[in-house]
């Protein structure tokens, strides 16, 4: 038995040494088993007739886009799976119905063959309509599967005229699928309507909007966005808060996402052991047009409804999210010694409320994205005094100590002298 244990330990040490040695050489093989899915990006390019216009550095919008695509395809990080989708590339006719369905995948999402992708892009010629909504839906389907970061980069020079499908609503619905998909938009024309539509699409998914005026700006920005997709991030777990604490989902330490409608509460539960500290932080994203004043409240309550601690935040003006957090350290001393019961975990209810409001024209469903971080750590070393270790500091302290010392010295000196005098007289 002992020999076996030693053998196992030896093998472990050997493995550890090997792993440490090889770790640098084979990071992908050793550290990242197939669970680490590669991030997926789809570039959605507008190939509508208007892309013929020559107004970007004296060249047509199409050639600027092609040049940018060539630069980007050269620079795509190896781990990114890239796909390309076009809209308005095939149907040159006037029939709106057909024109508004015109979107297809030019290059499938997968490991990138740069030459093949470039050849595919080179064949494009400005042709048809601008069906942004259907293109986004198509792109979201292309990126389906896996658990990695997903990003759509939409490059367009025109607003969606296809209606009734509002691309902004489409974007919000895609975001509500809970697949962590971000849409970044790039507009090639500085036009108020396009800007509004593209900003709305970007905001709905937590993406960005860029107005492009030069070719190098276009390629630089698209490269930046593709690189962003490659950044490793922790993928949150989707959860669904309940309407009351008793029905609330029980959460462990981790990162969660949820959706919360305006004016509705969300409840979660966390088990906290004695001697542990609960840390919860939450942000609610304003992914649609909301009124200027807003707030969010996170409360920790006992199961009986007594409030323990709360975090709240309010704000005004343009924002991407409003966030707050709370700490609840649970002392380890409150377990009675006279019972045999083991220290029980306390169920703490977390109530999330928001005070967003939106104009009547804004749809309130699906709810706004919520990000919730739960951490459970050891309880802090409680303060027994205001100052560190109860120590003193400053000239007043020194003065007081010196005076006390002096007084004590004088006193004992005087006593000693008296005693000698008394002894002498006797």
């Amino acid at each position: 038995m002992i020999i076996r244990k030693r053998l196992t330990a030896g093998v472990c040490v050997l493995l550890a040494t090997l792993a440490a040695g090889l770790g640098t050489a084979l990071p992908a093989a050793a550290d990242e088993p197939p669970t680490a899915a590669s991030p997926k990006v789809e570039l959605v390019l507008d190939v509508s007739g208007s892309m013929r216009t020559r107004d970007i550095d004296g060249e047509s919008r199409m050639s600027a886009a092609k040049q940018a695509f060539n630069d980007v395809l050269d620079a795509v990080p190896d781990e990114v799976e890239l796909g390309i989708r076009t809209l308005g590339a095939d149907y040159p006719g006037d029939d709106r119905k057909t024109g508004c369905k015109d979107t297809e995948q030019l290059y499938p999402v997968g490991p990138l063959d740069r030459t093949e992708a470039k050849t595919a892009v080179a064949t494009l010629a400005p042709t048809g309509w601008t069906p942004i909504g259907p293109a986004l839906l198509g792109a979201a389907d292309d990126l389906e599967g896996g658990d990695a970061t997903r990003r759509i980069v939409l490059i367009t020079d025109g607003e969606d005229t296809c209606g009734p499908l509002d691309p902004c609503e489409v974007a919000r619905d895609i975001a509500a699928r809970g697949i962590h998909l971000v849409i970044d938009t790039l507009g090639l024309v500085p036009n108020a309507k396009i800007r509004q539509q593209l900003t709305c699409i970007a905001e709905a998914t937590g993406g960005t909007y860029t107005a492009v005026q030069h070719t190098d700006e276009l390629s630089g920005r698209v490269k930046q966005l593709v690189d962003r997709a490659a950044e490793p991030v922790i993928t949150p777990v989707a959860t669904e808060g309940a309407g009351s604490c008793s029905a609330a989902p029980e959460l462990k330490a981790g990162l969660y996402t949820d959706r919360q409608e305006i004016g509705k509460h969300r409840w979660y539960r966390v088990d906290v052991l004695p001697g542990q500290e609960l840390r919860a932080s939450v942000s609610v994203s304003a992914d649609r047009a909301v009124n200027d004043d807003y707030g969010v409240l996170l409360r920790a309550l006992t199961t009986h409804g007594r409030e323990i601690v709360r975090g709240s935040e309010s704000g005004t003006g343009r924002t991407d999210a409003v966030s707050t957090g709370l700490r609840y350290p649970r002392s380890g001393q409150d377990t009675p010694d006279d019972t045999d019961v083991k220290p029980a975990a306390e169920s703490v209810c977390l109530q999330l409320a928001n005070s967003f409001s939106a104009p009547a024209s804004v749809k309130t469903t699906p709810g706004m994205p919520v990000e919730l971080t739960i951490d459970l750590v050891d309880a802090p070393d409680e303060a027994a005094d205001v100052a560190a270790f109860g120590l003193g500091r400053g000239w007043w302290l020194l003065g007081a100590m010196v005076l006390t010392g002096l007084a004590a010295g004088l006193l004992s000196g005087w006593i000693s002298r008296r005693r000698v005098a008394v002894w002498r007289t006797n």
């Binding site: 900003t199 957090g325 990000e371 010392g405």
Partner: protein, 280 residues
Amino acid sequence: MRITRSSTLRRGCVGALLAAVTLLTSAGTAVADDPSASASPADGEAAGPTEAGTTFRTATEIQQEQTATADASTGDYLYWVFPADAGQRPTVRAKVSLPESATRHGASTWQVDVYDGLRRRQACVYGHQTRKAAPDADAVELSCVLRTVRAWSEPWASDPLPGSYYVRLTAVRPAEEDLGLPVHVETEVTSAGRGGAHDVDGALAEPLVPGVSAVSAQDEDPAQGGTSIGVEPEDGWSSGWWTDRWLWTVGGGVLAALAAMSGYSLARGSGRPSRVPPGA
């Protein structure tokens, strides 16, 4: 709780020992410190990251004294995260270089916000947190001086605690036509040590770094590692037992002893009578 109490005791003992050593060697170290002090500003100008995150979760990690730059579009929300330890008073400075005024249409207001590791907004004590850029301005400079970070606070207070701090930079009131125009931003965090006057008792078990419990769980399972969300100061988090209050208190004790001795000899008079037997 018993564990934490004993750790306080241990912290105390080590602290007392170190205070004594420091007191004895302080004259020597003062001389030795000089060369390193003159060398550190050169190291401080380290180039930082050239990208910024766009959400709390994707915030770019920076260290204090590093200059982080990023190219972005007007209207983007840019996030950085830096570590701040107890006793520091961080100052966040940001400079936004605006696009050429010919392409702009109006004034824009920029703002820098700082959030702690629990995503609670932290107040700026002073500094230009929000500033309006005139339509013809080239750049706008923002700053925010935080409160001094404390080692411990009650859970009901939102005092700054050791841990991660998020910087969010955005245009809070951009001119509508200027959304999406390219800007270049530079951010830097510096901090002033505030000394023992701000050293409080108590300490957090872990700094306020989001996901800290998830990361420590992953340490046990190295297969999942590689994506830590925490930032740590370059020289690690302070252990919490050192404060210059040790020097003051021990120094005060020494002075008191000296004063007592001189007071005694003053009151006792010079010398001791030769005929006094021992023990009198």
